[in-house]
Symmetry: C2
Subunit: 395 residues, 2 copies
Amino acid sequence: MKKIIIFGSTGSIGKNALQVVRQSREKFKILGLSTNGDVKTLYKQIKEFSPKYVCVRNENAANAIKCELGKNCKLFKGDIGLEEFSKLESDISVMAISGVACLRPLLVNIRHTKRIALANKESLVTAGELVFNEAKRFNTEIFPIDSEINALFQLLPVTNRESKLNDSFRKIYLTASGGALADYKKQDLDKVSVKQVLNHPTWKMGKRITVDSATLMNKGFEVIESHYFFDIPYDKIDIVIHKESVVHALVEYKDETIFACMYPPNMCIPISFALYYPERFNCEGKSLISKRTRLLKNKNGFSCSFYPIKYNKYPILKIILQSARKKDNSLVVLNACDEIAIDYFLKNKIKFTDITRVIKFIFNRYPSSKITDINDVFYWDDWGRIKTKEYLNKL
Amino acid sequence: MKKIIIFGSTGSIGKNALQVVRQSREKFKILGLSTNGDVKTLYKQIKEFSPKYVCVRNENAANAIKCELGKNCKLFKGDIGLEEFSKLESDISVMAISGVACLRPLLVNIRHTKRIALANKESLVTAGELVFNEAKRFNTEIFPIDSEINALFQLLPVTNRESKLNDSFRKIYLTASGGALADYKKQDLDKVSVKQVLNHPTWKMGKRITVDSATLMNKGFEVIESHYFFDIPYDKIDIVIHKESVVHALVEYKDETIFACMYPPNMCIPISFALYYPERFNCEGKSLISKRTRLLKNKNGFSCSFYPIKYNKYPILKIILQSARKKDNSLVVLNACDEIAIDYFLKNKIKFTDITRVIKFIFNRYPSSKITDINDVFYWDDWGRIKTKEYLNKL
């Protein structure tokens, strides 16, 4: 029986992780659950999974739930509580806290668990080197949950047979659906509504990541994740447009052979991979995937298409890839900027195209500096937020 | 410098193998070439590749070329010559003799080479166990050239990480284009011409295999090859219709994850894999693939589709899969029957649908018996040929 802690259990990934655990009661026991402030959802989860420990970061929300917990469930609250909660010993931790706020609990928790199933992108984008150095130091496995990176993680044993970085290996490709606005013309982007941007064709995800999928900021983040996870240079990482979101990543060799990893677009699959490895979850007869979508048995068949990406169509992606190669504080600053800008956009305070505008503005003006520890990350994160708000409030 | 012998150098696979060697003069040296009787093509190949040894199985043809060879090239002729030729020591042998005639030189050559790049299907269909037992005994690698089996060979390291036969693994899928007659109605098959059957949509191959692609006999053979190559039970091997012939095989896990191996439909790629392994041929800037078809860089993109196979549409395939599970002499008999029937069809002596008719007839009447050695194979091969001719001559 493996003990599991889910950081961010009330979000989209957290709920999917609990769906996997729900189907695997004989293998996994929930030890802890954490939320930022959604105590209503957390309370339901506590009733179902009976964790020994829960954590609510928002103190007011924490106080609201406090009296409802029985004496068998210990509550941690606030940032200090989250840090203590991160020190609990587990077999597997699912890291699904959103944004750069995941970084501190992640770095603490690496020392207290055997395996981290990592959904959060921002911690690697802002501090990939720090995270992997700590994981190495404490001999903690990090498994990617993000479908594209998870697909690469599954594919790379093929390449390992011949050492992935020898010259047989040409490139890895991340697939991109192109997001909700793939078919929009440039001149129409000024007018797109929040609803239009949130209407992702294939994946159901959180709001920020859905907006990031439309700008392909998201895909830029995945390029960076791949770079850190597999130690692959940026010029060997490419993107291909694949609207069906069935193939998640491809590995190409110099002899024109390509390996692809595919599964239906449902986050339960990569999550179950990270929890079950080296075994695999058996979907047969289970309701892990609510709608049965076994690709090769669908009587209507299925098809998938691949097109080279037009980088010029995605200015934010271009900037993020430039930024990645700098290996300085720019990714931290731009991530903060993106988060604030999307928040403004979701609140209808700015237009969709203003996200690009402010990212360009900040990228051209930030003072370059090295990231050497976690305090640098938070310093430049704050700096990015302040400068972005200053700019957006003037629009 | 690796010494290579090509058995069947004047056929379609043999020519492709020489095309790979032509692009890799610094790595490979042709030691020997063999043909059944196409001495005109062989002579050109001798002039270009200067082999020390050549073999012509047809004695008349051998005598015709004899006087044209210089003293630096030794000629072997007839069946006895072929057996002596098979005893030459090489680093790699490409086995591209067609039909069951490949079996004897293959079994002899296994003892005298380090690696066999095997294109011939009939030797495994009729005597898979004998071949792999010999290879094990003499520690000889056998690499499949056939694109579907080659793709599986490349894919299975992924599965090996978790032991391919544990219960994580659900199925392997061979792709089938459906052949030249995929879109024909059943009632029209009586009237199809040789030309129509030979018009394969995606692959350029020899005549028999092109007809076998239309009946899917070919795919049945590949199921059997997969069974022997990877020791996978028949109920874990399936077929999926994939018209584009870009994906050659897929491996499916019980968690719905599928791995695919793809390359453009050009035999040079799997041949180069077998010759270069563990390295890979670099296609960049070479003319291995005459028309540049780098899948993920094609500016028009590419797409591929997958449909479950309708087994009822392919009666020969159904029979061959039934036959495979019997583990008796039926595959030998049916292979002989198919070869004769196709020969009659190509000579316009029978209709396309008569191939199915005679295979059904023979399958329902052959006397079941075990295959214990190579003599059994040739006995039942002869039996199948005689009975097939008797039946067809009466039509």
